[in-house]
Amino acid sequence: MVPFLGNFFLWLSLFFVIFQFFISRKNNKLKFITIAVNGLLISSFVSFFLLMYVHIVSDFSVLNVFQNSHTTKPLLYKISGVWGNHEGSMLLWILVLTIFNYFIFKLYNKKNSTFVSKALETQAFVTTGFILFTILTSNPFERIIPTPENGLGFNPILQDPALVIHPPLLYIGYVGFSAAFSISIATLSLENGEKIPWHIYMKPFVLVAWTFLSIGIALGAVWAYYELGWGGWWFWDPVENASFMPWLLGTALLHSLIIVEKRKSLQAWVLLLSILAFLLSVVGTFLVRSGILTSVHTFALDPSRGIYILAFTALLGGYSLILFGTKSKKYFDNNYFTFFSKEGSILINNILMVVVCSTVFLGTIYPLLVEAFTNNKISVGEPYYNSTVIPIIIPAILVMGIGPILSWGKEDKSKTFKKIFPSILLTSIMTLFIFLIYQSYSAVGIAGVILSFWIISNNLVILFKKNTNLSSGMIVAHLGIGLLILGITGSSIWQEEKIIRMKIDSEIKIKKNNIIFKKIDEIVGPNYVALQGNFWVYDKKKNIITKLKPENRFYPITNNFTTEASIHTNLFRDLYIVLGEGNLNDGWVVRIYYNPLVIWIWIGALVIFLGGIISITSNLKKLKSLA
């Protein structure tokens, strides 16, 4: 009964969304639009929670539950199992689309009714595409007869708290760009679009998308770091790239919106960027879901889905880009920016972000192109991205340091130097200080540390001046980027590792820590059994710092092994221990990583998120003053 209801509400949301599409074409029917928007929101909500319900009660008559769940799964993972698979995650995607649809509708007032109706029409079209996709190719309520006794379980590597909220946050990011897309299309479609303060409507959506995409990506990295067990956290995997590309365009979009707001310039560019950001989000989905790019995260291998999404993207892309080509003329302007101005620095930011994004895109699809057009097969991996992306990002970070303190229009060069002198001094002191601590020198390391402190000290200087009218969200987010770079540099340059075979009671030294392998235990978890090593870590003075307990888990239901790293974190370094194979006679293989400054990656990401939230609230105030 419940699965039937879920399916019914999914179809009902299809009905409401088509209704919204047609009714919002005819403006001034507020009553009907209200019904459509609310009906769509409620029915997709109900449908989503019914799927959650069948997962919680383990209703194995539903194919989706049978394939992805098991009665022994802890409740939290039964819930997250809803979006841990392709079909369920589509339902979440639809839910987020309808929530943004609702917020676009909330912009509606007498003055902007034509504009908001047009945006709602576009949003309805996009949503229709995804609901149809779900119903036709990936219906999560599909039944299975006869009802199996128990489920097939699910990938234990996905049993991780970070991965519970990673997809919802990421989807808020991807789908948030749909609202910016709809607003952009509405602006371009209207004859008097330039008279509407569309950028004020667009900015909160872009901020929400960007902020949640940032924290979503960060949580994915956290998961990789804790779960995959070799101390890395970013692998330039196609799936990671799929989220990184919209983030880069979102970053560009966010900054150029400031120019539109303050200088009425770059309007056409912003309209185009907001279209591209959403298209890239959809293309990213296509790449991941089609199975064309095989990667560790891929959960669906079905070409018909790929073809559908590809066709849908082509339709959206074709329509929006043609619209842009024909209607964007009046949004072009002849303002030119010099280097030494705030708008100049934002222009540089935008261009470099787009260059990085294009490079990542190229690297992601190039293996497909080579395979399609030659008999050869190539791999594009981490070394490629390191050698192409990093050189482009370095100037962007340099500019990011001084951008905020430059004035609009023209800036006196000698004045600029006076402004940045304190931060140059501060950067040098902090850099010297960190190299005194870590005493390890490499060109990349030095560059990374200088860049990081360059950002941090510039923003600290801004904070101390107080009398600036700069947005506090921006300062906080930029500080976060500085901390992030510090963590990335530290963990990738100064990482040390020891790979050895250890017997019980043997000892190993890494940096200034002595680690003793005390014992090994057998433990039983809710749906796994494990071997748990017990390592005591001492400092130089033989004081105990911590006891680390890495595990080797075996999940009998799905018949797979996972390694659970055990990590001791402080502000300076992580000690990361992984237990490998072994036995009592020969000892166990033990991997110990000394990862400096890793925690600053996560702190940096959190600070960025906080900055985003501050900016969202201040921009919502602007929006309210408009109505």
């Binding site: 030119y336 787009v354 791999s379 075979r501």
Partner: protein, 141 residues
């Protein structure tokens, strides 16, 4: 009775896990202690090469990170070649002759990858041009 049954199952599972960890070393990952070369310089070279070599049966991992048996074989092969005195370049050549360009995580610079390597430069050049153009125009106004 039921409790006894559960305990029995648990014991059985623990035994299975111990047996399985004995027989399959694939639950451990990456380089293993017995592979590591005595000479630190040689070992470092081996690690650097391994990081650029794709694990052919994995999805997006280098052989340095992978726990697949094939990756292990390749790691040992690379170390043996280093011990024999082969240069890095010779080892890369040997591997690409045997497995094709697919094995290199950093694609080689050749006709089919021309665009892959040159386009980022082009993007960057176009970007710099736009910035310079803006800067120049702004001074005329």
């Amino acid at each position: 009775m039921i409790i006894n049954k559960i305990i029995l199952i648990k014991i059985f599972l623990i035994i299975t896990v111990i047996c399985l960890t004995q027989f399959f070393s694939n639950n451990s990952n990456t380089v293993e202690p017995d592979e590591i070369l005595q000479d630190q310089k040689q070992e470092l070279r081996a690690r650097n090469i391994s990081k650029n070599i794709r694990c052919m049966v994995c999805q997006n991992q280098s052989i340095d990170e992978s726990n697949a048996p094939l990756a292990k074989d390749l790691r040992i092969l690379i170390r043996n070649k280093i011990k024999k005195g082969n240069k890095d370049k010779e080892i890369y050549e040997f591997l690409t002759n045997r497995y094709g360009d697919f094995i290199l995580l950093k694609p080689p610079f050749k006709l089919s990858t021309l665009a892959l390597w040159l386009l980022p430069l082009t993007f960057f050049a176009v970007g710099v041009f736009i910035i310079l153009f803006h800067n120049k125009k702004s001074k005329k106004i």
